[in-house]
């Protein structure tokens, strides 16, 4: 702003400059001094105007004082310096031409008013600012408190709404606070929970470590622990929980409270118990089942040294018959009755009875003295079965076979023990049943091998593990090969070549003998045809095939034989069927009929192993046989020199008898030339034995026959 030099405006500015220079150092404004001076100029003008106004008004002074505060001059020095300045320069610069005394009086009054205005404004500003900062502090506190409140409310909601039971107690065990979930677990009433002491909450089923852990925690030696624990509800029922207890420490780390979190597992536990019971018990009899029995047996067998065990494996004799004839309902009732009786037999500690399935039961006894106890246990079981069982008005006699295994623990696995018991039980059963047998390791081993071979038999036939060796039958008169006996062998993958004595009884037992026999017959007959084709000129070679008793009874024998012969295109006289004497003992006409039909067709029938059975000579006439095969026991006596005269007489007699009945005689087991010569002299027709050849592949026979023919 331009002002006339030394005019009123210029003088006012000079006053303001002096004023601002005086006050600026005691302000804390961020304005520059020239900027600050601009803020003071209106205030100076107010004072100047009031000084010269027609009517004096001290209010301008008050406004100027307030203006100072507004310009951020809040320091007391700002007022005193301002008053000094006004006092010294206002009249000087702005009072030109007026009455000096009057002007000085006005200036003084303006200064008083300025002081009052400054004080009032400063007071108001101070109060306002104090008010503002207090409000701000309050609001800030409010925000924090709200956050805290919200957080606390959330915590409370978590505490109260949690599905898990929460409780807080002091370190003396006094329960301070629990949530709703915990109350509900305890039956919903507060009296059983609040005001109680944690230490009152013992339960008969507390694990030993539960209270040791508790003491460690309240002593501050442990931060938390987790246990499964039961509590008594006020009504006496059990509350089962998964319990986690944590130690709460104060800000300085000193133990302060204990916090318990508990999950109600009562239902789950009951369900588990029930499922466990169902999984380990037999639904029909309520006895422990195979699973539980194995668990117990395994536990027993893993017990410490010095312990023994005894096991009775019971299988009812003839249960299948009862089931088949009276129905399953009756069978089930019988089993229930038997189960009850067995249970009554094994009541001592360490004894248990289980049903393994079907009509198989086991009784187990454990302890140091089972050698005696297991015998008594088996006897008790046998006795328990003696009384007949009454079902649907019938009195059923129950018998059983028991396999007993006894021994020290720690030597055999549960499966091995049970297998031994099973084998022994079968031994008892095949010995006629209604008895108990003690396990015997050798019998077990045999049975295990037998079992293995038996189960492998069907697959062996499919896989072609069988083969046939031929042992020549030689005419004693001229030494020519007249035929051969077919002998079946089993090339077992593990056991090597097995002779018929090892597996034919098993095949008989399982019925596999029928397909196996058919296979042997077919192979042998084919072989016979091959020989005939090759050297029919060497005379009609005949093949001897063994028939087992089972095959003899098989209704398809005749048809199978005929089919094989026809299919192969070989005449019946090329085949000789060997039947043991014992198989025909007491044979009736029905049994002999198939043999007769075969004989009528031209198939030769040889009576094998003659002389080992009853040798019912009278019977010979009745049988459709054409050959007698003397058992090797007769020829054994001729191996020595001189030969046993009694044996010579017997053989001579038999040969005479046979010839008189028009039967040819074959001898087995010829091992020396002397023997052969002796038998020739005695009139035997054909012979077989190592002297001529051991059983071998068909090519061997071929060679022999050729040699023979050439000879």
């Amino acid at each position: 702003m331009s002002a006339e030099p030394d005019g009123p405006e210029d003088r006012l500015r000079r006053l303001t400059t002096i004023w601002s220079r005086a006050v600026f150092p005691v302000t804390s404004t961020s304005l520059t001094r020239p900027e600050f001076e601009e803020r003071l100029l209106p205030l100076a003008r107010l004072l100047s105007d009031a000084l010269r106004a027609r009517t004096f008004d001290a209010g301008a002074g008050e406004a100027a004082g307030a203006g100072l505060v507004a310009a951020h001059c809040t320091a007391p020095e700002a007022l005193s310096r301002s008053l000094d300045c006004v006092d010294a320069y206002l009249v000087l610069y702005c009072g030109e031409g007026g009455d000096q005394e009057d002007l000085r009086a006005r200036s003084a009054r303006l200064q008083h008013a300025m002081a009052a205005g400054f004080a009032r404004a400063l007071r108001e500003r101070t109060l306002a600012e104090q008010e503002a900062i207090s409000q701000a502090a309050l609001r800030a506190q409010g925000v924090v408190a709200q956050a805290l409140h919200a957080s606390e409310a959330r915590f409370r909601a978590v505490f109260e709404g949690a599905a898990i039971g929460i409780g807080i107690a002091d370190l003396d065990g006094n329960i301070l606070q629990v949530n709703e979930a915990l109350l509900r677990m305890f039956g919903g009433s507060e009296q059983g929970v609040r005001g109680r002491n944690v230490r009152d909450w013992t339960h008969a089923e507390d694990a030993p470590q539960v209270w040791r852990l508790y003491e460690e925690l309240v002593r501050g030696e442990r931060e938390h622990y987790h246990v499964e624990k039961a509590f008594y509800r006020p009504d006496g029922t059990a509350l089962w929980t998964n319990l986690t207890v944590s130690l709460l420490r104060d800000a300085d780390g000193n133990p302060q409270y204990q916090l318990a979190l508990m999950e109600d597992t009562t239902e789950r536990r009951l369900l588990n118990l029930r499922l466990r019971y169902e999984a380990t018990h037999d639904a029909l009899t309520g006895l422990p089942n195979r699973t539980l029995f194995f668990e117990r047996l395994e536990k027993t067998l893993n017990a410490g040294e010095g312990q023994r065990f005894g096991l009775c494996y019971l299988d009812l004799d003839g249960f299948k018959t009862i089931n088949d004839s009276l129905g399953h309902a009756a069978g089930d009732r019988l089993l229930v009755e038997v189960a009850d009786r067995l249970q009554a037999c094994a009541t001592a500690p360490g004894e248990m009875v289980a049903r393994l399935g079907g009509d198989e039961f086991v009784a187990l006894t454990t302890g140091p003295d089972t050698q005696r106890e297991v015998d008594e246990l088996a006897s008790r079981i046998m006795n328990a079965l003696v009384a007949p069982v009454r079902i649907e008005g019938r009195e059923l006699t129950v018998r059983g076979s028991i396999g007993v295994v006894e021994g020290p623990v720690g030597e055999r696995s549960a499966a091995e023990v049970l297998r031994s018991a099973d084998i022994t039980m079968y031994r008892a059963k095949s010995a006629g049943g209604n008895r108990f047998e003690l396990a015997d390791p050798e019998a077990d081993a045999r049975a295990i091998t037998r079992h293995g071979l038996t189960t492998a038999l069907p697959a062996a036939l499919d896989r072609g593990e069988f083969f046939i060796e031929y042992q020549p039958l030689v005419h004693l008169g001229d030494g020519s090969v007249r035929g051969a006996e077919a002998l079946v062998r089993w090339l077992h993958p593990q056991h090597g070549v097995l002779g018929p004595d090892r597996f034919i009884p098993l095949a008989e037992h399982t019925g596999l003998i029928v397909p196996l026999g058919r296979w042997v017959m077919e192979q042998s007959v084919r072989q016979a045809r091959a020989w005939r084709e090759r050297h029919g000129d060497a005379g009609p070679l005949r093949i001897n095939v063994n028939l087992s008793p089972c095959q003899l009874h098989h209704p398809g024998l005749v048809q199978d034989t005929v089919e094989i012969l026809e299919r192969t295109g070989v005449t019946p006289d090329a085949l000789c069927l060997e039947v043991t004497e014992s198989a025909l003992i007491g044979a009736d006409d029905d049994l002999l009929k198939p043999l007769r039909r075969l004989a009528e067709m031209g198939v030769d029938i040889a009576l094998d192993d003659f002389g080992t059975g009853y040798s019912n000579l009278a019977n010979l006439r009745r049988l459709p046989v054409s050959v007698l095969k003397l058992d090797r026991s007769f020829t054994r006596g001729m191996q020595q020199f001189p030969a046993d005269p009694v044996d010579l007489k017997i053989v001579e007699g038999i040969v005479a008898l046979a010839h008189s009945l028009d039967l040819a005689v074959t001898v087995e087991g010829v091992e020396t030339g002397a023997q052969a010569e002796q038998l020739r002299v005695l009139g035997c027709d054909t012979a077989q034995g190592w002297y001529y050849a051991r059983p071998g592949p068909p090519e061997r026979l071929h060679e022999l026959a050729l040699v023979d023919a050439a000879g």
């Binding site: 961020s30 701000a136 502090a137």
Partner: protein
């Protein structure tokens, strides 16, 4: 439990606050007796403390105007404290009515007061956050609402970095903020230092100890250390200097000797 990151466990107004002490130095009454007591104690050692603050404010005022002259209309003032006479938004909005200012402070009372003062001014806002957690500042919705980080921003760190200890990595925080700024942004910074204080060092240390006692230690840094905050910036003339010497509008020799304490500077991002 969730608590706003900035909110202390409680507001304890019996503990002095550096923001309110600052207000007291500047002649304000936004303070309580504990604040005034601490301030008076510090002033026993350094009677000229208010002059240092005043010089800081005057520098800030000049720097804001400089930024406006550079065409910058967005301001982020971290450590803004208690709004007092001559705030950034007053300076900025008097020159450019569209200027936007975000105040940031971690003192909840300062924030609450700022909210009251700024009520109704849509181009300003206040954010409760801590310089030590720059990500929270940069990602806050309040900043995103007001400040366009794709355009130049004037970042004010006036009289705050000397309250951040090295352990809290003040250089890292400043660098993180810098990396978020668009090219042409300005860093406006002042920092306390023993250099320039017209007193023997033991007197200054007495004042520093007062801040230590109120658990807001004052970290005095050398000019070289202060200059390092401008790493990645191109210094605006005259560089890092005592506050009255930064682009003065009046003769520096008129200034109070205390005004030359500490350093001030402005840097520009490339």
């Amino acid at each position: 439990m969730e608590r706003p990151a900035w909110a202390p466990r409680s507001i304890d107004i019996s503990v002095p606050s550096v923001a309110r002490i600052y207000d007291y130095y500047l002649g304000g009454s936004h303070n309580f007796e504990v604040d005034r007591e601490a301030a008076r104690k510090a002033m026993e050692f350094m009677p000229g403390l208010p002059k240092i603050m005043q010089a800081n404010r005057a520098f800030m005022r000049r720097a804001v105007r400089f930024a406006l002259d550079e065409g910058i209309t967005q301001f982020v003032d971290i450590g803004s404290g208690i709004p007092t006479f001559g705030n950034v938004h007053e300076v900025a909005q008097s020159a450019d009515s569209g200027a936007r200012v975000l105040y940031v402070d971690h003192d909840p009372v300062a924030v609450a007061h700022s909210q009251a003062v700024l009520a109704g001014n849509d181009d300003t806002d206040v954010l409760a956050a801590d310089l030590r957690k720059p990500r929270e500042i940069l990602e806050s919705p309040r900043l995103r609402r007001l400040i366009d980080l794709n355009r130049p921003v004037a970042l004010l760190l006036v009289a705050i970095l000397h309250f951040v200890e090295d352990a809290d990595d003040p250089y890292g925080a400043v660098a993180e903020l810098r990396d978020a700024l668009a090219p042409g942004s300005l860093l406006v910074l002042t920092h306390a230092s023993y250099e320039g204080i017209p007193l023997p060092p033991e007197r200054s240390e007495g004042a520093v100890d007062v801040y230590k006692d109120i658990r807001n230690p004052l970290i005095m840094r050398s000019r070289e250390e202060i200059t390092r905050f401008f790493e990645g910036y191109e210094m605006v003339e005259p560089g890092v200097v005592p506050p009255p010497l930064w682009r003065p509008q009046t003769a520096p020799e008129d200034e109070d000797p205390y005004a030359f304490s500490g350093f001030a500077g402005v840097g520009r991002t490339a």
